[in-house]
């Protein structure tokens, strides 16, 4: 084979030398025509960039096209075929020579670049293109040789090879870039190597079939030509099938239409007494279809935005079109829900219910700075450049009526505090910070209350309670002021300002302390964290420093990714890393049951979203609902 390859290299020597000469000549040429002020190495880099992006692929086509058509010619047939080697082996030697020459040129270009890429940092798309570059060159050479051999014409073969390689590479690159940007919908680690192998090995195998048909003139010519063409077409079809699969998968992606970021000051996760317990709903979206909808635990849906295949841009096949939605919702005591969301650049406010649908809708310029607020006077708070504005709900006949409520300097907390107080759901801290007062009741704390802002209450079974951070000497702890006028320390040496505590749908209040694990017995990786929870159950039972290390270990989760979902009857429920629903004994969290959650599309805020009856899970293929005993069903 070596002798044959040497022969083929010698046959192509002139063409190769001309191209190599052009590569080398482009260095002084680049230096000669560069603009003043451009460093010499940049001019050379630009010239080599041209070679990398255009010159080298073209060279691969020229070299393989000439070699392939020559191999099919009478001269090669008369001169080489009488040798005692198979005709296929002769062709393979020609193909190997074309590949060697292509990669020799690549090596020369790389050497001129100083064996490093001229780009300091690569974007995601560039990285993917670079990853496919070597494969692309190989593909051009294999297809160029094979097709030029079949058609006995270098130009026709090279043109077809260029088209075929593009038809393989464009969907492959598109799929890889999209998957990198968005969701791991396809096992590309398996698919892409398979397609690459099918293209290269299939091209070489097709050459064998074509050789049997063309050279040996086997009687099964039609079958051989058909099979060979199939082998060449298979990677193209597979690449497009992969892209179709991705498109289909992308359109099925369902995820919460929650805020991209945790809400700044709203009802969503903050402790706020005016927040009615949200109905068991998930505001969800199919971002690559543009659909936004509510779904309840029984799978009933109410569509807010229908979406569709054609939205902002017409051609979305190569890169699924993203029409992302951010949203929030708030359900009032009448069971009607307000939804404030954006779809693409449009903002919408909708009102209704799953049962009756969401017919009323108002267009809103932008929603990203807005927050729904509940309480006696529900409304929308908007942070604008000049000030904070509030519009009550429902909107008037002329739409939302915005009223400036606070300057940017004063901040929104004062407005919120005033609103809480007006609603009768917050307590006031005395100026000296010693006492807390609410509707005539007064609690005297053993130390100084750290905050002076209004303290929103927490509605427990015995009424409205208040959690306050108190400093006693040099220690900060959390005290609970109960409706009976008494106060008690519930979380020693732990506090958060009230707005930084979280309440679950069942009314459990919690705060967390995440800290790196000591290295003993575990990996010394500093990122590994444990989570200690401070909880107050709806019936007023407080728990301090609940250690979830055992749960994390059993779940195989190392980064402290665990969140409380519910506390009931001596048990605690957790979402462990969006992978498990965990039910643990409150007294001994290590004694726990684990239920595997469906695979989620990506770890995002609210991907696993609790309600009073269970958790909504935005799975890769739809929405699931899992009850508190691990019973799971797909609801969308």
């Amino acid at each position: 084979m070596t002798t044959l390859i040497k022969l083929q290299l010698r046959k192509n020597l002139l063409t190769f030398s001309v191209i190599l000469g052009a590569v080398l000549a482009s260095v002084p040429l680049a230096l000669a025509i560069k603009s003043e002020g451009m460093p010499a190495h940049e001019a050379i880099n630009l010239a080599m960039l041209y070679w990398g992006l255009a010159g080298l692929p073209l060279s691969a086509l020229i070299l393989s096209g000439i070699a392939g058509s020559e191999a099919a010619g009478e001269k090669a047939r008369d001169t080489e075929q009488p040798l005692p080697v198979s005709q296929y082996r002769l062709l393979l030697s020609g193909l190997a020579a074309a590949l060697l020459e292509t990669f020799a040129l690549l090596a020369v270009i790389y050497a001129i670049l100083g064996f490093k890429l001229p780009l300091e940092s690569l974007t995601g798309a560039q990285e993917q293109l670079l990853r496919f570059f070597v494969f692309g060159l190989s593909c051009l050479a294999v297809y160029g040789f094979t097709l030029s051999y079949v058609f006995r014409n270098g130009i026709a073969g090279a043109a077809l090879a260029g088209a075929a390689s593009a038809a393989i590479l464009i969907p492959l690159t598109s799929t890889a870039i999209f998957q990198r940007l968005a969701f791991k919908l396809l096992p590309l680690w398996l698919i892409n190597p398979l397609i690459a192998a099918a293209a290269l090995a299939g091209g070489a195998l097709a050459l064998k079939l074509f050789s049997q048909a063309r050279d040996r003139r086997s009687g099964r010519n039609t079958a051989l030509l058909f099979s060979g063409s199939g082998l060449l077409a298979a990677p193209v079809l597979a690449a497009f099938a992969s892209l179709m699969w991705l498109n289909y998968g992308a359109r099925q992606v369902t995820m919460p239409a929650g805020n991209l970021f945790f809400p700044l000051y709203g009802t969503d996760s903050n402790l706020y007494p005016g927040r009615e317990k949200n109905a068991a709903l998930m505001l969800a979206q199919r971002p690559f279809y543009g659909e936004v909808f509510f779904v309840d635990k029984d799978g009933n849906r109410a569509v807010l935005e229908r979406g569709g295949e054609r939205r902002d841009s017409g051609f979305t096949y190569l890169m699924p079109d993203l029409t992302f939605s951010n949203g929030q919702s708030m359900t009032a005591e009448d069971g009607k829900t307000w939804a404030l969301y954006s779809v693409g650049r449009r903002g919408r406010l909708a009102h209704g219910s799953i049962k009756e649908g969401f017919s009323a809708a108002w267009d809103i310029p932008a929603t990203w700075s807005m927050e729904l607020l509940g309480g006696k006077e529900p409304g929308i708070l908007d942070r604008r450049d000049d000030a904070y504005y509030f519009a009550p709900l429902p909107p008037g006949a002329g739409g939302l009526e915005w009223k400036k409520v606070a300057s940017r300097d004063a901040g929104y907390l004062r407005f919120l505090g005033e609103k809480y107080l007006k609603d009768g759901l917050a307590a006031e801290v005395s100026k000296d910070g010693k006492t807390l007062e609410h509707k005539g009741k007064r609690w005297t704390l053993p130390g100084e209350i750290v905050t002076r802002a209004a303290v929103p209450g927490v509605r427990l079974t015995d009424g409205l309670n208040f959690l306050v951070p108190v400093r006693v000497k040099d220690d900060y702890s959390t005290y609970l002021c109960r409706p009976n006028g008494k106060s008690e320390m519930i979380w020693p040496s732990y506090f958060r300002v009230t707005q930084n505590l979280t309440i679950t749908p069942d009314g459990t209040v919690w705060g967390v302390e995440r800290r790196p694990l000591p290295p003993a017995g575990r990996s010394p990786n500093a990122d590994i964290a444990t989570a200690l929870f401070y909880l107050l159950t709806p019936d007023g039972k407080a728990m301090s420093a609940v250690n979830t290390d055992g749960i994390l270990r059993k779940a195989g989760i190392t980064y402290g990714d665990i969140w409380p979902l519910r506390a009931q009857n001596g048990y605690l429920w957790f979402n462990a890393g969006n992978k498990f629903l965990v039910k643990a004994e409150a007294a001994n969290p290590e004694n726990a049951k684990f239920w595997k959650l469906p695979k989620v599309v990506r770890e995002r805020h609210k991907t696993v979203s609790p309600s009073t009856d269970g958790v909504f899970i935005a799975g890769a293929d739809g929405i699931y609902f899992m009850d508190w005993e691990g019973g799971s069903r797909k609801i969308n």
């Binding site: 009488p82 040798l83 003139r217």
Partner: protein, 290 residues
């Protein structure tokens, strides 16, 4: 007879190129050491037959065995065969010496000394580029390439086509004779079969994709006759009798076999005919029309 090994055997060989049937159930057998002339008109399938035997073309149907091997597309068979094509071709950028060295890499039995000696005998300049060689010298090189690995089977496809007398003589009376005497099997197709008639053991006529006639060479040499007779006493067309020429009331016939000649004589239709032995060229010409 059973002691004689078969070097080439074809049974019912079929080969079509598209709708064109080139070989149509060809049967042929050659014993080891036998020299067979394949006689056929242009396009009769001689080259196709050789390419099938060389494992360059796959037959559509039928069985082929060459030197005990079945052609399988691997090309291994060609290592045992010496092949001189009608139009030899070499890489023009190589010298004769490089060409021989290149070929030597593929044939385990390549005899460098023999190749060098043949170059000398045939007066071939080994430093010359093959692209600059005359037709005769190209043919010489083809002969050397075919002979240097001491093949067990020689396939010679119009091996003297376009060669001048001296070169033909060199090749036919030197090289081929030597190889034939060395016990090698030779299949040779040549338009001028007369010039090699002395070497042949057998002559097979390839017509319409089949072997239409198969005669021992001695038979052609000793039992073919030219019969000059009158048109009115000309016997009807029949196997073993071919019209060679016809002028006015006279005509010339070729008669194959003493028995056929006696049969015609005894029929009384050839009274007064002139009977003489037929020269080889005329005999082969007549065979083509047989």
């Amino acid at each position: 007879m059973n002691d004689i090994k078969t070097a080439v055997a074809c049974h019912g060989l079929l080969k079509n190129f598209g709708r064109k049937e080139v070989l149509r159930g060809l049967d042929l057998a050659a014993a080891e050491g036998e020299v067979i002339g394949i006689l056929g008109r242009n396009g009769s399938g001689k080259t196709t037959l050789f390419k099938v035997l060389l494992d360059l073309l796959a037959p559509d149907a039928g069985g082929v065995s060459v030197l005990g091997l079945t052609p399988d597309g691997s090309g291994a068979l060609r290592g045992l065969i010496g092949y001189v094509p009608e139009k030899p071709s070499f890489h023009g950028f190589m010298t004769v010496e490089e060409t021989l060295a290149f070929r030597a890499a593929f044939f385990p039995g390549w005899d460098k000394a023999k190749a060098a000696q043949l170059c000398k005998t045939l007066e071939l300049d080994t430093r010359a580029k093959t692209g600059t060689l005359s037709k005769g010298n190209t043919a010489k090189l083809a002969w050397i390439c075919a002979a240097a690995h001491n093949p067990r089977l020689l396939l010679l496809d119009e091996p003297t086509s376009g060669l001048d007398y001296l070169v033909r003589d060199h090749i036919l009376n030197g090289l081929v004779s030597e190889m034939a005497e060395g016990g090698r099997t030779i299949l040779i197709s040549n338009h001028r079969m007369g010039e090699i008639g002395g070497l042949l053991d057998r002559v097979c006529v390839l017509k319409d994709g089949r072997i239409s006639a198969d005669h021992k060479a001695d038979f052609i040499k000793t039992e073919t006759f030219r019969v000059g007779t009158r048109q009115d006493s000309r016997p009807p067309e029949q196997p073993g009798v071919r019209l060679l020429s016809s002028t006015g009331p006279l005509c010339e016939l070729a008669v194959f076999g003493k028995a056929k000649l006696e049969e015609l004589k005894s029929s009384g239709k050839m009274n007064g005919a002139e009977i003489a032995p037929l020269d080889l060229d005329s005999a082969f010409k007549a065979l083509l029309g047989e």
